[in-house]
């Protein structure tokens, strides 16, 4: 079962700050994970209520295989007893992807469609804004808008302070929250320098019954009493689709990309990250805090958008 696999993975890894980016907690295959809505609908149509969808022999085989795997896992645990700190180099160069978001503030008009789309995609309550749009004032009084999702810091303070390692970095650079482990102490909310974490104070709003069970990559519906936050729409990004905020931006000011292949894109165009960011003097928020955020901003005050 999921909990046993978790214990196997963790019980001898004392100082763990990231875990493998699998959804092994639920036995969800890659296709189900992607087309979770479609497949769960299919599964509902297929299964007869009250009947197992697999035969007894298959079940016994599966249980036996699981027991063997469990024993093997326990035996192989010694290799996993490694001490990992929050500051450790996570060898992200060897990953397949390193997701980034780029906000071109020359085009942002503060319409908050990104916020609305994110809330719709994740069925969030009205007061939870996983991407917030701040109205900021520059040094000469110019007003500009700053959309701020979770910065997915490489050296994340939230990961460092979580007492149960409920929040962790995946290999593709995204900080996730496992709401089955979160004890709701809100220490991560205190430690986040960007105010990017949100607490599920009350019951989650109702979600459609076709949604699959929540995972850290798509924590919907959220667990009451735990912390939720922007997860870079991994359920889109990992399968070649753009996050909700990128698709919804009416001014095409948001891009999603991958540092490894050095490309980012929005629904209209694709560009090369390193050239674009260098040419346009991209910056990150609170660089002095050494958090290594993965969200870049091109300075501007909305001067380029036209209606």
């Amino acid at each position: 079962m999921g909990i046993l696999a978790d214990i196997q993975r963790h019980v001898f890894v004392v100082f763990i700050t990231y875990k493998l980016p699998t959804t092994s907690r639920r036995n969800v295959c890659k296709d189900c994970y992607r087309d979770r809505r479609i497949v769960s609908q299919k599964m509902e149509n297929k299964k007869e209520p009250g009947k197992l969808s697999i035969s007894r022999r298959q079940f016994m085989r599966g249980a036996g295989a699981l027991a063997l795997a469990g024993a093997a896992g326990l035996a192989g645990l010694n290799q996993k007893s490694k001490i990992v700190l929050a500051e450790d180099d996570l060898k992200m160069e060897s990953a397949d992807h390193q997701w980034v978001l780029v906000f071109d503030l020359r085009y942002c008009d503060g319409c908050k469609q990104c916020t609305v789309a994110c809330q719709e995609e994740h069925y969030l309550p009205k007061e939870a804004e996983w991407i917030k749009v701040y109205e900021m004032e520059g040094p000469l009084g110019q007003k500009y808008f700053l959309p701020k999702p979770c910065q997915q810091c490489a050296n994340a303070p939230c990961v460092r302070v979580c007492p149960v390692v409920a929040t962790y970095k995946t290999k593709d650079g995204v900080t996730l929250v496992d709401q089955q482990k979160c004890i709701g102490c809100r220490m991560c909310m205190a430690a986040c320098p960007y105010d990017s974490r949100y607490f599920n104070w009350n019951d989650y709003p109702p979600v459609p019954s076709t949604l699959a069970k929540p995972t850290p990559e798509f924590p919907v519906p959220g667990v009451k009493g735990t912390v939720g936050k922007c997860e870079f729409c991994l359920h889109f990004m990992r399968f070649g689709k753009l996050p909700a905020c990128v698709t919804a931006c009416t001014m095409r000011a948001v891009f999603a990309g991958d540092l490894i292949s050095d490309i980012f894109a929005n629904p209209d165009e694709s560009k090369k990250i390193s050239t674009f960011l260098k040419e346009n003097e991209a910056y990150r928020l609170k660089e002095e805090l050494n958090t290594g955020p993965r969200v870049y901003y091109i300075a501007g005050h909305g001067e380029r958008y036209t209606y």
Binding site: E93, A154, G240, I260, S261, I263, T275, N290, G292
Partner: protein, 190 residues
């Protein structure tokens, strides 16, 4: 009046020849355009400070081998990250020997699909070339998650504090059990 038929014929022919010459001059030069030949290679160059960079070299020459200089070459790369697309990665101008050089950065060694494009001008044809280059020995890019530098300090201070905690726990256990044992033993020695 006697008409100078010979003179008239000569002037008409001359007018016709003149018109033909002008006419021929206004004909599009397509017929006279040269084909151009565009190839793409790469190399790793080192500048005077010793910094390496990977450069995509596009060689543009006429079909007869004459190198074309001062022409703009557009570079594209084909990516399949969010669906297949040709992403513009920059442009460069050919040098006197007909070679355009564009610095290119990537973290992924191996095959990359490039497209180079020359728009053509009055004398030379438009040319586009697709090339798949296997890039090796890439110069290093900025680290994605550079080590913060506090790792050793954090590690050893955690171990140190853990050792202190264990010492304190053993002292407390010693006091508790030592008291029980000591006082019980003391009562026996009466």
């Amino acid at each position: 009046m006697k008409l100078n038929f010979k003179g008239l014929l000569v002037s008409v022919v001359m007018v016709l020849l003149l018109g033909l010459w002008f006419f021929a001059g206004s004909l599009p030069v397509a017929a006279a355009q040269a084909k151009s030949d565009l190839t793409l290679t790469y190399e790793i160059q080192t500048d005077r400070q010793g910094n390496e960079s990977l450069v995509l070299l596009a060689k543009l020459k006429r079909a007869d081998g004459y190198p074309l200089s001062e022409r703009e070459i557009l570079y594209f790369e084909t990516t399949d990250l969010y669906g297949s697309a040709r992403v513009s990665i920059g442009s460069a101008t050919t040098s006197a020997v007909g070679v355009a050089a564009l610095k290119y950065e990537t973290r992924q060694p191996g095959e990359h699909q490039f497209t180079v494009l020359y728009g053509g001008d009055e004398t030379t044809e438009f040319a586009v070339t697709n090339a798949t280059l296997g890039l090796q020995n890439l110069p290093a890019m900025t680290e994605l998650s550079p080590p913060v530098g506090m790792e050793k300090i954090s590690y050893w201070s955690m171990l140190g504090v853990g050792a202190v905690v264990l010492v304190i726990w053993s002292l407390l256990a010693g006091v508790f059990f030592g008291t029980i044992v000591g006082i019980r033993r003391g009562s026996k020695g009466q």
